[in-house]
Amino acid sequence: MQLTLPPGLSPQAFDAAVKALQGAVGAGWVMTTDEDRDAYADIYAPGPETLWGASGAVAPQTVEEIQAIVRIANEHKLPLWTVSRGKNLGYGTAAPRMPGCMVLDLGRMDKIIELDPELGYCVLEPGVGFIDLYERIQQDKLPLMMSVPGNGWGSVLGNALEHGIGYTPYGLNAKNLCGLEVVLGTGDLVRTGIGAMEKNQAWNLFPFGYGPTWDLMFSQSNFGIVTKAGMWLMPEPETSLELNLDIPKAEDIGWVVDTLTPLKLHGIIDQSIFIPSWLGKMVILGQRQDFWDKPSAIPEWRVQELLKEHKLGYWKVQIRLYGDETVNKAKAEIVKAAFKKHIDTPMQEVWWRRGDPTNVMDLTLGVPSAVPLQMGNWVGGKAAHMGFSPVVPATGKHVLDQMTRSRKIIDAHDVDFYASFTIGGRFCNNVNMLMYDRDKPEQVEGIKKLFNALIADAAANGYAEYRTHLGWMDAISDTFNFNDHALRRMNEKVKDVLDPNGILSPGKQGIWPTAYAAQRGKNLA
C-alpha cells in the first residue's frame, strides 16, 4: 500500500518522525515499507483498504520505549493507533480509524508478569495471546480455566479492552480486568485502582480505587496506552457438565431466552450462554455453494431441507455447568425440568472431570482456537465478515422483537440470516454475522447498505451496538444521542486534557480530539 501521510504532516516531517522512532526502538522495529502497510491493513475491509491505511508501524518492548514513542509523537505531531496484537478481525484488524496513523503494535510486549493459581489472577502485558497464556497454564499444570472468545489468536488484554465475550462464567472479559498501568498522551505513567499506591499488594484483586475508579475508561478508548493489567481467572472446576439440545424453530428463541435468563439470574447457570443458529454449525461444513448455488439468500424451503439433511435444529442450546459433581447434577435437574415444560427432547449430557483431556474445540472449557474463523471460507473468494451486534434485554419479548425486525431487513436485502444470542446476564448480545466476498464489489456495497439499515432501525427502537468496525465508529457514536450527545462531549473534553495533541488513536469509538476534529465523519465505510 502506498504511503498515506497523517493530516497536516509533510513527507519531510514524517521522515524526521520515523528517524526519531528508529532511535527509540531500533530501526528493525519501525516498519514503513509498502509491504508493511499492507500487513497492517484491514483484511476484511468493507471497501478499499486505503480508507483505513496506516503509514507504518512501530513496535516497542518496554514501557520506557512507549513513553519515548509518545514523546516523539507529540513533538512531531505523529498520530498513533494502538493495538495489542492487532487481531481484531471483523472490527478493523490492526488498521487505524484515521488514515496515516502509525500503528503502535504492542505484540512484542508479551510477558506474563504474574500468574497466581491461589487467588486466580494474572498480570499481563498486552502482547500476550490467549494461546500463550493457555499453554503457560498447561505447562505449569495450574488449576485455572480461561475465558476465550471465538478468535483465540488475539490478545487477552486487547479482547477484554474491546469488550470481547467468552463463554464460561467469566465470559464478560472486560469485567475481569483489575488494575491497569497506562501511559497517557502526555507521556505520564499511571496505575489505576489501589495500584496508585507504590508497591500495593492487592491492586489486581480489589476492583475499586480510593475515590473514582478509572479502569474501564481505558476500554474501547483512546485515553491512554495500557501497558499491563491484572486479569481475573476462574479456578478450574472439579467437574463440568455440558447439556446440549437442538431447538427446532426460529421463533422458539423467545421461550428459550425466557427459560434461560431466570436460571442465569438465580445462579443455576453461571456461564455466558451462547445460542448459535443452524448456520453457525453449517459454515464449517463446507462452502455456501455446496448447499445453495445462487447468489440470492437461501430461501426458507431450502433452510428447512438443510436442517433435515444435517439433523440440525434452528438453534443449538449448549449449556455448561461448572463446579462440584453433586452441585452440577442438582443444577442439571433444574435446567432439564425448566426445558421439559416446552420440549420433550432430552438433553444430551457430556461430563468432563478435572484431569480429563480437553479437545482442541472446547471453547467453553477455556481452550483457545482460531477454527471459528473458518466460517470465512463459507462465502469463498476473498471472504470477510462483520457483525451487527445490538444489545437487547434478555427477555423473549425483546429478543423476538429485535430478531423479527432485523430478519425482515436482512431478508429485504437478500442476505442469509445468521444470528446468535449470548446471554451475558440481564442482557443478550445478538450477533448477526454478515459475510461477504471482497472480490465482489456489489456484495460489499449490499452489505454496507444492509448494515446502515440495521443500525438505524435498532437505534430507532432503543437498541445499541456494543462494538463496531472502524468505518462505522462515528455512525454508532451518533446513535448515542441522549442530551445532544452529552457523553461524547464529555469524552472529548477528557480526551483534550489527557492528550492535548490528540496523538493517541484519534477517532476511536467516535472520540475525536480537537487536533483532528475535522476528520470526524470522513473515511466512513
Binding site: G107, Y134, N244, W351, G355, P357, N359, V360, L363
Partner: protein, 154 residues
C-alpha cells in the same frame, strides 16, 4: 462446539483424517479421551476432536537475528492455525484431499512441494483465509528459517 458433531464429521473427512493427523508426527499431549468414555458419542461413532496440541516453546532472544530452529519457529509462530486441527490445517486438508492428495498433507510440515520463496510470499501477502503476517508476528529472520524448514520442494 459439541462433541456430538465433531469437526471431522462436519468436514466429511471422518476417521481417515483424524488417523492421518495423529500418525503424521504431530506431538499430541494426550490421545486417551476419558470424556468420550464418560458420556461422549456412542461407540462406533466418529471420535471427538483430538486434544489441544501444544506449540514448541521458544526463547525469544534477538528476534531480528534469531537462533531458534525453523521447526520450532514454525510451531510457535504458525501453530495457532497450522498444527493439528488448526483452522489452516482444516482448510488445507480439504483442499489437498480434493486435489487427490492424502489428508496428512493438510499439515504444512508434511508437504514436500513447497518452496521457500512461496512460503515467504504467502506469509507476507496472505492467501485465501490467511491474513498477511506483520514483521512483529514473524520477523524476516524468523521467516527465513521457517521458509527453509517448510521449503522441501527447493
Amino acid at each position: 462446539m459439541s462433541r456430538a458433531k465433531p469437526l471431522s464429521q462436519m468436514l466429511g473427512l471422518g476417521l481417515a483424517l483424524v488417523a492421518a493427523l495423529a500418525a503424521s508426527g504431530c506431538k499430541l499431549v494426550d490421545t486417551d479421551n476419558k470424556a468420550a468414555a464418560q458420556g461422549g458419542p456412542p461407540a462406533g461413532g466418529p471420535p471427538p476432536p483430538p486434544p489441544y496440541q501444544m506449540r514448541a516453546k521458544i526463547e525469544a532472544g534477538d528476534r531480528l537475528h534469531t537462533s531458534v530452529t525453523g521447526a520450532d519457529l514454525f510451531s510457535h509462530r504458525c501453530g495457532a492455525c497450522h498444527l493439528t486441527w488448526g483452522m489452516g490445517t482444516n482448510l488445507l486438508t480439504a483442499q489437498q484431499v480434493a486435489a487427490g492428495k492424502t489428508p496428512d498433507k493438510g499439515l504444512l510440515a508434511n508437504r514436500d512441494d513447497l518452496t521457500a520463496d512461496y512460503v515467504k510470499s504467502v506469509v507476507r501477502m496472505g492467501k485465501g483465509a490467511m491474513p498477511r503476517q506483520t514483521r512483529v508476528d514473524v520477523t524476516d529472520s524468523e521467516l527465513d528459517k521457517i521458509a527453509a524448514y517448510l521449503g522441501k520442494g527447493k
